[in-house]
Amino acid sequence: MTALDHAPEPPSLAGRVVSDEVVAARAPWSRVVEAGQILRIVDLGGNQAVDCLLYAAADPTERYSAQDTVAAQGNVYLGTGSVLRSCEGTPMMTVVADTCGRHDTLGGACSKESNTLRYGQHTKHQHACVENFLTAAARHGMAKRDLVGNINWFMNVPVEADGTLGIVDGLSAPGLSVDLRAEIDTLVLVSNCPQINNPCNGFDPTPVRMLVFEPEVAAP
């Protein structure tokens, strides 16, 4: 797959805007998206990985499971139609639109500790997604044990025939977006990835937009 020259238009959303926030480069974000609402994540600057974890708002011990998600859909990549499942197999959110085309859920989140393995001890004190997840989780009474393998929106991790995989140049571009419909009330934690040692953010972390939308209910 190759990156697009220009961003295609995402589908128009009819209804009520519940919230519309810009997440600064390198920052965490969290919000409960209620069942039926749509979360649109917009890659404002292009090639910006958005690390994302999901929790059932009613019982946060039920959380996103990358393994359940890829096993159930029989494919390691996320895109339109992907159902994001919990560790108990429950559909939490569905990708209902995607102008980027492919997203990752194998590569996990960067951490100070994994940075030391991937790049060297000199990267230990750089900011990392796990730090953002810990900050966001704490706002909701959660902690390190609640962190599991996550989704990386707009991140490109191809798996080659011999199993070789890696974070490579992105497929995303300014203005590309992904729309997630909540199937249950879902607490969404995001780390707007601060990584500067691999191409997941084009070596330049940028802001992203988080738009929560309540679709119009059709008249009876």
């Binding site: 029989g74 494919n75 197999g89 996990g108 393995l117 796990v130 393998g149």
Partner: protein, 274 residues
């Protein structure tokens, strides 16, 4: 025969010495069919696990755990935690990302979420393993087999993990992504997952503990196993004392990432012993 306490006691005691397919060897030094070079005195744990069963154990740094697919149709879902601080646990994403490799084999490191090596894969006679699909839960088995309860005929793996960890004071929040042995999956060009099944013959994998580990194992069908019925065969778990990987082992410096992972693990133990 059991109408009085004395009769019931005699009845209970008369059961001693019976054998079952799934049971531990106590004392462990009585284990039979040990690998060449392993003395009975070095054995720490020997336990047969029935299909659908689970077991967990704390193992010391340097010990080797052999997980055996005794009959050739087992599937071992495995969690690893740092036994001293279980907040540190297996991180499957870091394991594949740091090693630039989705598949498990001899020389693979099982990495924690703290940039350290939990265990090294030192032996593998199966070649059919999976880091991507995880284990079954109750809803999955309910859908696939009509039932998934632990007390039923098609127990799910996740609830087995939960009960095993509960006995160490841990709970569902401590169940992260797992690895599974003896059933393999391949990622195709378009990202599709192909279930490869198992070797179809007895096989074993050995893990060398690079820190004190809490190892939890469930024997349960792989989630992509297409067979309509719940099928699994027994596992045997055998562990013995040994030494962790050292700087003169080719695995230590096999890659820049492995070298730093072993160094980080050694550094942790300087703190524990110094």
């Amino acid at each position: 025969m059991t109408a009085t306490p004395a009769a019931a006691r005699a009845h209970a005691r008369a059961q001693a010495g019976a054998a079952a397919v799934a049971m531990p060897t106590i004392p462990a030094r009585d284990a039979v069919d040990l690998p060449a070079g392993v003395s009975p005195e070095a054995v720490l744990w020997d336990e047969a696990v029935a299909a659908g069963g689970w077991a967990s154990r704390v193992l010391p740094r340097g010990s080797t755990l052999r997980i055996t697919d005794v009959e050739g149709d087992a599937c071992a879902a495995i969690l690893l935690h740092n036994a001293d601080q279980p907040i540190e646990r297996l991180n499957v994403a870091d394991t594949v990302k740091v090693q630039w490799q989705a598949y498990l084999g001899v020389g693979s490191l099982l990495l924690s979420d703290m940039g350290r090596v939990l265990a090294t894969v030192t032996t593998d006679t199966s070649g059919h393993h999976d880091l991507l699909c995880g284990c079954s839960n109750r809803a999955h088995n309910q859908r696939r087999y009509g039932t998934g309860d632990l007390h039923g005929p098609c127990p799910n793996a996740r609830d087995g993990f939960a009960n095993a960890l509960a006995k160490h004071g841990l709970d569902r929040r401590d169940i992260g992504p797992c690895l599974t042995l003896f059933k393999g999956v391949t990622v195709l060009d378009d990202g599709a997952l192909r279930f490869d099944g198992g070797l179809g013959a007895p096989a074993h994998v050995e893990l060398r503990a690079e820190m004190a580990l809490l190892v939890t194992v469930v024997d349960s069908p792989h989630v992509l196993d297409p067979r309509p019925s719940w099928v699994a065969t027994p596992l045997r778990l055998t562990a013995w004392r040994g030494s962790p990987t050292t700087v003169d082992d080719p695995l230590w410096s096999a890659t820049p990432e492995s070298e730093r992972a072993y160094q980080n693990t050694e550094d942790l133990h300087l703190g524990l012993t110094g």
